[in-house]
């Protein structure tokens, strides 16, 4: 009466996470009521259900209608991402949920501030790379630069990797922001 059990197969709801679906990144844009505790509702949902948060940005976007926009980047298998979206939509304070990653018109941008310390050839090279990436110098001393760069997260990753051997000291990133191409609003 006992079937052979493959160790990779889930034996109960508790083992769902062991499924071998491929995980991917997903960016969700949320319009939420701008009220005390709304960020906690969203973050708490992720924590309570064991979802990852790779990055998170939040700010008020419309004072008159009391709305804020939260952009959250998460990682999960397709059925987990579907579940995250459904769970977010269930939160009373959440007005809209938009899956930016699966929307062909979705645009994702991030801003980073990067401090690089160096002298001589490295310093020249840092400035040259910054020009290629269209990063702006917003502070300079005789031994350092602070660069400001915006772009898709991947572009910032590449810039950071190039800066690392040139004396990268400190890095500050906003996390991903998103919007849709075209004339329509969310």
């Amino acid at each position: 009466m006992t079937d052979p059990v493959l160790p990779s197969q889930p034996a109960s709801a508790y083992d769902l996470a062991h499924e071998t679906e491929v995980e991917s990144l997903a960016t969700f844009a949320l319009l939420v009521d701008n009220e005390a505790g709304v960020l906690h509702r969203v973050v708490g949902l992720f924590a309570a259900r064991g979802y990852n948060i790779e990055s998170l940005t939040v700010a008020e976007t419309d004072r008159k209608s009391h709305t804020s926009r939260i952009t959250v980047v998460t990682r999960g298998a397709p059925h987990v991402l579907e579940q995250i979206e459904a769970q977010l939509e269930k939160v009373v304070s959440v007005r809209r949920v938009h899956d930016v990653t699966r929307d062909p018109n979705g645009v994702e941008r991030e801003l980073a501030l990067i401090k690089v310390r160096g002298a001589g050839a490295d310093r020249v090279e840092a400035l040259r790379v910054a020009e290629i990436f269209r990063a702006r110098v917003i502070d300079t001393t005789s031994t350092s630069f602070v660069f400001e760069i915006t772009g898709a997260p991947g572009k910032i990753d590449s810039f950071v990797e190039l800066m690392r051997p040139l004396g990268l000291v400190e890095l500050s990133r906003t996390g991903v922001l998103s919007i849709e191409r075209g004339a329509e609003g969310m």
Partner: protein, 609 residues
């Protein structure tokens, strides 16, 4: 000119149109009255005194139009509100103070969230200027309850209070019902503002649950069901929550399709146990026929259930050959645990109505020949008689106790609540529910201590009915203090304790899975329940002889006040049949296979709950 100066008997409409200037506390009472609340459950304390004062004055002015039931512990208030809600379909209302008042209520709030019970919880809070200073009886109530409410509010301005109060009722009772908490600082209760009625407030949220199912999917579902050779209905608490009409529609549609019906623990009563199409409960302690039919069906119609782990057993072996239709008001329940073929988001009653219409419109006809074959197979499983037990000994078998309780109460207007454990499963197996809203139990959270306060809530809603809490001797001690509430308000609830001197379900798992090492599961130093009942001013009864059982149960029923019935049952009885942890529906353990159950459950299964 002020309103008073202009008001005269000739222009009453004009005067009535002006908003009433009330204190926050008065607004709370007024909003409850306007929302049609008749009974609330609570416990006073420093931070809710203004509301209690307003309640007192409202009672003086208008008589007891809003009844407050004083419980003995805030957990009792929350469970009583659940019992009230579950048996009426109306929201349960709880009023407690800040700090410990709120934290004590939390178990009941989580219970309501898990079982989708509409509930309004009003908590007092320290004055706004003291919030964050670790003031006396301060707790971050909205912070603590954010994860265990459908929604919650901290009211910082009395001008927001009318909207929040009415919005809370709307949110708690619509969509997938659940608890909504409103935390009201004491200064807000004292300050004055303009009151607005339920129809005057403008809701501040974009909350708009979908209740109507997608017609295309409903038509597709109707065709799928019509083409089924081995269909089954798997129904849950959502059918109960959707109102009595949903149960009526379920019965109608099930009859049209000729399919068998099973249900989760929460859904018992939506479909009558007396109907030949009823297979009994599904899941871990469900019947052999229900679980095997779930495993072997080719089309499963899930209505208002959520593929909980107690129901599915081993997920990868859950009903492997079936197409699945899932009707649920909560979109996040669909495809959460089990992938389905047709997901329909909507209210159970609305979707069932549309399904019946689609069935007729599509000219669907059940495949009678295939159904006959299916029923023959089901009859084969039924012949196993999975609920049989050894009868005729000198001790009372717990199953017999429930069977006799059912036999002696079936012709009465009876409501049943339970605690959690073996007695709960035996009640679900042996008490045969014919109607919805008659069965109140803690399903999702599994809260010991639920049954007695829930019974009080039920009794208040149905004063003339017979309300029985089927309990265990361990569970009943978790909220036993509510006996005092029962006596104070003359609530004649009957507490029927299946006393086996063990935390029975814990003992059963220790016997089967932990080498009979009974770690801390023996109910040591039990009180004398008869004397305990008498100490509270209630009646106590005891029975240990099967021959006296009927007579004693009759005595319990006939007593006009609350009764504690200490029914001494067989101590080592196990609750069967059972799907062992980590096993599939078609791997149920039947009573005679018990000997080797320990060896049937593998190491992986042992680690599951």
């Amino acid at each position: 000119m002020t309103a008073q100066q202009t008001a005269n008997p000739a222009a009453p409409a004009e005067a009535a149109a002006l908003p009433e200037h009330l204190t926050g506390a008065e607004m709370v009472v007024r909003a409850l009255v306007d929302q049609g609340v008749e009974v609330m459950f609570g416990y006073p304390g420093g931070a809710v005194l203004p509301i209690y004062d307003a309640l007192f004055q409202d009672n003086e002015a208008h008589g007891p139009r809003l009844r407050h039931i004083l419980v003995r512990h805030e957990q009792g208030a929350a469970h009583a509100a659940e019992g009230y809600a579950r048996s009426t379909g109306k929201p349960g209302v709880v009023l407690v103070t800040s700090g410990p008042g709120a934290t004590n209520a939390i178990t009941g709030i989580v219970d309501a969230l898990m079982d989708s019970i509409p509930m309004i919880v009003l908590t007092g809070q320290v004055p706004t200027h003291l919030i964050g200073t670790d003031a006396f009886q301060e707790a971050d109530t909205v912070g603590i309850t954010r994860a265990c409410t459908k929604h919650n509010y901290l009211v910082k301005d009395v001008r927001d209070l009318p909207r929040i109060l009415h919005e809370a009722f709307h949110i708690a009772t619509s969509g997938r019902p659940g608890p909504v908490l409103i935390d009201i600082p004491k200064d807000v209760q004292f300050s004055r503002g303009d009151y607005q009625g339920p129809d005057e407030v403008v809701f501040g949220h974009g909350y708009a649950p979908r209740t109507k199912g997608d017609p295309a999917r409903i038509a597709e579902a109707a065709r799928l069901i019509a083409g089924a050779r081995r269909p089954i209905f798997y129904t849950g608490g959502g059918v109960i929550n959707a109102g009595p009409n949903a149960s009526a529609l379920l019965r109608e549609f099930a009859a049209m399709t000729g399919a068998p019906v099973t249900s989760t623990l929460m859904g018992l009563g939506a479909f009558p146990a007396a109907d030949p199409a009823w297979l009994g409960m599904v899941g871990m302690h469900g019947t052999f026929e229900a679980n095997n039919a779930m495993h072997d069906c080719d089309v499963m119609v899930c209505v208002g259930a959520r593929f909980d782990d107690r129901v599915t057993g081993r997920l990868d072996a859950f009903s492997p050959g079936s197409k699945k239709i899932h009707i649920d008001i909560d979109a996040s329940s669909i495809n959460k645990n089990v992938r389905v073929d047709i997901g329909i988001v909507g209210d159970a009653a609305s979707v069932l109505e549309d399904l019946i219409a689609a069935w007729k419109a599509e000219g669907c006809r059940a495949n009678r020949q295939a159904l006959d074959e299916w029923w023959r197979q089901i009859d084969g499983w039924r012949a196993v008689q999975c609920l049989r037990y050894a009868r005729g000994g000198e001790t009372i078998k717990p199953q017999l106790a429930i069977e006799r309780l059912y036999a002696l109460t079936r012709d009465r207007d009876t409501y049943i609540t339970t605690e959690v454990g073996q007695h709960q499963m035996w009640a679900a197996q042996f008490y045969r529910f014919q109607e919805p809203n008659r069965w109140m139990t803690s399903g999702g959270l599994g809260t010991m201590g639920y049954g007695l306060p829930a019974a009080l809530g039920v009794q208040l809603a149905h004063p003339e009915s017979l309300v029985v809490d089927i309990a265990g001797e361990a569970s009943i001690q978790m909220c036993i203090q509510e006996m005092s509430t029962a006596v104070q308000y003359g609530l004649p609830v009957k507490i029927f304790i299946l006393n086996n001197e063990w935390m029975g379900m814990v003992r059963q798992w220790q016997e089967l899975l932990h080498g009979q090492r009974y770690s801390h599961s023996y109910s040591e130093s039990l009180p004398d329940f008869v004397k305990l009942a008498e100490a509270y001013g209630a009646k106590g009864l005891r029975c240990s002889d099967p021959a006296e059982l009927d007579e004693k149960i009759r005595e319990m029923i006939d007593h006009p006040g609350p009764v504690i019935f200490d029914c001494r049952v067989e101590k080592s009885e196990n609750c069967l049949p059972m799907i062992p942890s980590g096993k599939a529906h078609n791997e149920m353990i039947l009573p005679e296979e018990l000997e080797n159950l320990g060896s049937v459950i593998d190491d992986a299964g042992r680690k599951l709950v």
